[in-house]
């Protein structure tokens, strides 16, 4: 048994886990309609690869992973695709998102599966691709595509694999039930991950409030050849937070802004290991998961094996909900879960718990009072932040300062709000501040992108204008050159080749000579007229006449020289 460390803060809320552990995992009914959101994981939404009206078999791929961080989707039961488009999805906003809807036929007919007989002799990359192809994503809560964590590349050397079985949040017992009943599947899944990552230590972190699960794991472990440590940690919320569990088991704090892989650690949820086992040994894609249905408004509070895409309504009815006492429906745990208004939303890969609470169980929040700076939130913050300071910054919209105080290290566990004597919804303030900062950063990015495009356009327009100007100048120059050449050609009499050209030139010269004569005659008339009437400018006329006479003579001479007399 390895040493257990500690993390800062944490709380001990009432566990409320017993109620859902009375019976074994039960199979939930196949609903009439399965609703499968294309985005059930972190990363890009999957791309549908089926058409409306197509019949699909259980386990058939219906949407393809889009990009490196994405996950594919499979039909959880056989049926016909009836709709692809927006549907209410499990999201805090309550908005709609693209989904694939399957009308089930109740036959639950499997497609051909391709299990791997001997994964040890298989190429590692092919094995990871197999896991990716079967849509395995983290079942702990964030839904990070598992294949990315299994294929970290050369820049991350993994020495420690941590299996997160802490399940620290009240009410939720899905992992507990899974460990009690399917510990062999979990162990086999861990072996596959260990084969891929080759870690030197494998630690299973589990809270001490799950003695039966610990026993079951212990028993399964005896058959395993791997060196696995079961680390029983004291029950304290949120010991199941990734960074908190790492600190508990290794004493190392994951630096702000980095991922566990940066310090050589990979965390996998215990449910994910079972999903990996099923994917490899049975060839089954991730089409179902264990969901805790609990809360005093339900008749059967227990864990169910639920097909992904099953609407909440079906599940609530299967658990015999009492609608008169149902006061609040929560998806997830009471600390980090989100309220649900629309019961039509489906179970997705990350849905671990549904709480149908009565009013006594989850009374409405008390009105928030002013912060009295008691500092209790600081005492319990597992990320060692200053919650009240962050609250002031969020409230005053001083997001820069909130960011400087490491707002983004907040894991939104809700411990601060739990102990707040003024009932301030602290986590809501942090979520608000975070989304404001994210939006602002996105806008900034968009603005700088727009600036680059604008500047590129300006540069292009300028270049085009310059090119146009250059072309205009070139044309003008060419024209001037042509003009000059023509003048030069006129000045030097050309060697005339043909008779026709000669004749044409003689004609031209003849015209020129007669024009000159006419001009001279007109000028002489004007002079005569001026002399008779005694007008001014006689001197000018006389000089003009002299010039004209000269020109007329020259023209005449040119004509004669060109042989004009003869023709």
């Amino acid at each position: 048994m390895s040493r257990i460390f500690s993390f800062h803060g944490g709380i001990h809320p009432p566990e409320n886990k017993k109620q859902s552990l009375g019976a074994n995992i039960r199979l939930a009914p196949i609903p009439a309609q399965l609703i499968l959101p294309l985005q059930q994981h972190i990363g890009k939404a999957a791309l549908p690869c089926v058409a409306i009206g197509e019949r699909v078999l259980k386990g058939q791929k219906i949407a393809e992973a889009n990009g490196r961080i994405s996950s594919s989707l499979h039909a959880p039961s056989s049926g016909v695709i009836t709709y692809i488009g927006p549907q209410p999805v499990p999201h805090a906003s309550g908005l709609e998102s693209d989904c694939i809807v399957i009308d089930t036929d109740g036959l639950d007919e499997w497609s051909t599966l391709s299990p791997i007989a001997d994964y040890l002799s298989m190429n590692k990359m092919d094995l990871i691709n197999h896991i990716r192809d079967l849509g395995i994503a983290g079942l702990g809560g964030a839904g990070f595509p598992t294949d990315v964590k299994l294929h970290l590349g050369d820049d991350h050397i993994i020495n420690t694999l941590i299996i997160n079985a802490a399940e620290c949040e009240p009410y939720i017992t899905a992992d507990d039930a899974l460990m009690r009943e399917r510990s062999d599947e979990i162990l086999a899944g861990i072996e596959i991950i260990a084969h891929l990552l080759k870690p030197s230590h494998i630690l299973i972190g589990i809270e001490d409030n799950k003695p039966q699960a610990i026993k079951a794991l212990d028993q399964a472990l005896r058959a395993s050849t791997l060196n696995i440590d079961i680390c029983v940690v004291p029950t304290k919320y949120p010991s199941g937070g990734e960074k908190q569990l790492i600190q508990l088991l290794t004493g190392i704090e994951v630096p702000s802004g980095s991922i566990p892989a940066d310090i050589g650690i990979v965390c996998q949820n215990v449910g994910t290991t079972a999903a990996i086992y099923r994917a490899v040994f049975k060839g089954e894609p991730l089409i179902s998961r264990v969901v805790t249905l609990t809360g005093y408004a339900l008749g059967h509070r227990q864990n169910y094996e639920v097909l992904i895409g099953t609407p909440f309504t079906t599940l609530l009815e299967a658990a015999e909900v009492n609608r008169t006492t149902l006061f609040r429906l929560v998806m997830g745990g009471p600390m980090m879960g989100i309220g649900v208004n629309d019961e039509r939303i489906p179970v997705i890969k990350t849905t671990n718990c549904i709480i149908a609470a009565t009013e006594d169980e989850m009374p409405p929040a008390l009105p928030a009072q002013p912060c009295i700076r008691c500092g209790m939130c600081e005492q319990v913050c597992p990320a060692s932040l200053l919650p009240q300071q962050l609250f002031w910054f969020a409230q005053g919209r001083e997001f820069d300062k909130a960011k400087q105080h490491n707002l983004f290290d907040c894991i939104e566990c809700g411990a601060c709000a739990y102990v707040c004597p003024s009932n301030i919804p602290l986590v809501q303030h942090y979520r608000f501040a975070k989304s404001e900062i994210r939006t602002e950063e996105f806008e900034q990015q968009k603005a700088s992108h727009a600036r680059i495009r604008f500047e590129a356009r300006q540069a292009r327009l300028e270049r085009e204008a310059a090119e146009k100007e250059l072309r205009r100048k070139e044309r003008a120059e060419a024209a001037a050159k042509q003009q000059a050449e023509r003048k030069l050609a006129e000045a030097t009499p050309k060697e005339l080749n043909s008779d026709e050209e000669k004749a044409a030139q003689i004609k031209q010269l003849k015209t020129a000579a007669s024009v000159a004569r006419t001009k001279l005659k007109k000028a002489n008339d004007a002079l005569k007229n001026a002399r008779e009437k005694g007008l001014e400018g006689i001197d000018k006329l006389e000089t003009t006449i002299l010039l004209l006479e000269q020109k007329a003579n020259e023209a005449q001479q040119a004509w004669i020289d060109a042989g004009g007399e003869q023709s």
């Binding site: 908005l95 809501q428 989304s435």
Partner: protein
């Protein structure tokens, strides 16, 4: 006596000339190209290049702000931009000048493609090259590049361009600010429900 004064003067002059040379060299060697404050202001502006501020683009307005123009002339940026500018320039954050327009939700241009006659006028107007098309061919807007500046709407001879508000999806949805009613004290709890019950 005289000589010590002389020495002091000479020493100070020597120091002054040495530092003068160093400063003069630094001024030339480490010269900052352009006006960094204009770049900083420009980085805060939304880059819609819409001209609603009265300048032919964001950069000219950034220059104008650096020269002392008021910071509340940018409707696309809205109050957030004004606050950021006030923070940067150590000015007081003032409300948006209504003369230049109101702060509207983010929109993108949409061309009703059946009605488009392919005149290319909107393409020439778009400051970020977000409209695709050719003469006598239908045009369309690249949504991811559109800044919602409005500049393409006016030149369209057949009025086939609409400015549509961006739809809110789970991907771009923002957590709302928690509403708290500071006037309510704990002992008032339930009174609102009683009143509601009475009115029903």
């Amino acid at each position: 006596m005289m000589s010590s004064i002389l020495i002091a003067v000479v020493v100070l002059l020597a120091l002054a000339s040495v530092f003068g040379i160093i400063l003069g060299f630094a001024a030339v060697r480490f010269r900052v190209e352009g006006d960094p404050i204009v770049e900083q202001i420009d980085a805060l502006l939304p880059q819609t290049q819409c001209g609603q501020c009265g300048y032919p683009g964001c950069k000219p307005y950034a220059q104008a702000i650096a020269d002392g123009d008021s910071i509340n002339k940018c409707p696309p940026g809205g109050q957030n931009t004004i606050d950021a500018l006030a923070d940067l320039l150590d000015l007081e954050a003032i409300p948006l000048d209504a003369e230049h327009g109101e702060e509207k939700p983010k929109t993108v241009a949409y061309i009703r493609e059946d009605e488009c006659i392919g005149c290319t006028k909107c393409i020439q107007a778009c400051p970020v090259d977000a409209i695709l098309g050719a003469a006598k061919q239908m045009h369309t807007v690249i949504v991811s590049e559109c800044t919602g500046c409005d500049l393409c709407v006016e030149p369209c001879p057949v009025d086939c361009i609409d400015m549509i508000p961006l739809p809110v999806t789970p991907a771009n949805w923002k957590w709302p600010a928690p509403v708290s009613d500071p006037s309510l004290i704990l002992t008032d709890r339930g009174r609102g429900q009683l009143l509601q019950g009475a009115s029903q």
